[in-house]
Symmetry: C2
Subunit: 215 residues, 2 copies
Amino acid sequence: MNEFTNRVPDATVRRLSLYLRFLEDFGRSGVTNVASAALAERGGTTAAQVRKDLSHLGSYGKRGLGYSVEELTRVLRSVLGLDSVWRVALLGAGRIGTALFEYEPFRRRGFHITTVIDNDPAKVGARLGDIRIRGEGELERALCEARIDLVIVAVPAPVAQGLVDRVVEAGVRAVLNYAPVQLRLPEGVALRNVSMLVELECLSHALARRVCHSA
Amino acid sequence: MNEFTNRVPDATVRRLSLYLRFLEDFGRSGVTNVASAALAERGGTTAAQVRKDLSHLGSYGKRGLGYSVEELTRVLRSVLGLDSVWRVALLGAGRIGTALFEYEPFRRRGFHITTVIDNDPAKVGARLGDIRIRGEGELERALCEARIDLVIVAVPAPVAQGLVDRVVEAGVRAVLNYAPVQLRLPEGVALRNVSMLVELECLSHALARRVCHSA
DNA sequence: GAGTGTGAAGCAGTTCACAGCG
DNA sequence: CGCTGTGAACTGCTTCACACTC
């Protein structure tokens, strides 16, 4: 099996993202080979799980030796689509939007926020870093001009769906949603929700019921 | 079965949090009864899934009628531990920390951030809202004085584990982690990770492989 | 010997389908 | 009749165990 044959399960993809971080750390500390057990240790999972995850991508391990840090790093970057630069638009330049904009790891991983939209007239025309904030009316034009691949939604819940409809119409195929709404998207558009409230409420459930949940 | 007999699966808890939002919306628009199909519609899931989820809590539906919005709201709030106020400490008053601090929905749901810690001497003593930022050295004292239930970690990755060890030692039983590290915690402490990078990389994977993932 | 790759078994969450109640 | 609650079937992820390779 190789990286093109099969679909990689969602749960696996999320772990691959972690493994990649660990591999980069190992690489920086000069480690050249790493065993599934070592990755498992760092990731709070099991060696069998790591091997199963990696086996979805192909056979990159050497028996008795483990995986080449350098090779596996390359493979994971490729599988996760991190060897191209993705052009990202940020919708909403409020507290959360601004924090995301300035989050260094995004840029380091090849996610370039080249467009920022906000509908507050006081903000339009202002700068975020070296980018001029544009008004909602320019949405389609901006997405098209900048050939945006992916959109981060950080606007208030009530306006999110309307904006996203337009974004999808404009041909964007991936949406990362920070607004506390369940967005409705057509087939073929990838969506991920990051909900601060949901996670916090899971913890509050755990506290109230004295049950331990981990993730 | 009632709300105290059995463990509620993790996947269900996350959906309960969503259902609660929908119920509150329905309540505001004056709807008094709601069928599983209506909740499913809003949540992008199926009616059977909703009923199965709710059946973990007990039998609150009326056949032929659906669920009482008011009653179900009360039950969900209780199951999610939202009828008490939780005292929260924020570690890290950087971009992300500040954004979280000012995120209104937290407070509205009963999560009160009463303590803010940062190790930057320039920030210590400054105010965030009406709270004085305290130095790292005061961590244990602050947690204890404020009887903190839950900690939000928004510090740089390299210092996160050290701080969390002290937090756990001080008796805190729930941690919401925004730092891009895999924290190691003892049994019995609830942990949730919110990783901007993982979600973004799932999307980039989907884009690169032209596969659609939703959540 | 050390450590991978993988079928097979085990487990958990989801979907189905329908009996039963209001 | 409409809609819930739930066993039973199903699907998919995780764990196990071991043959196999370096």
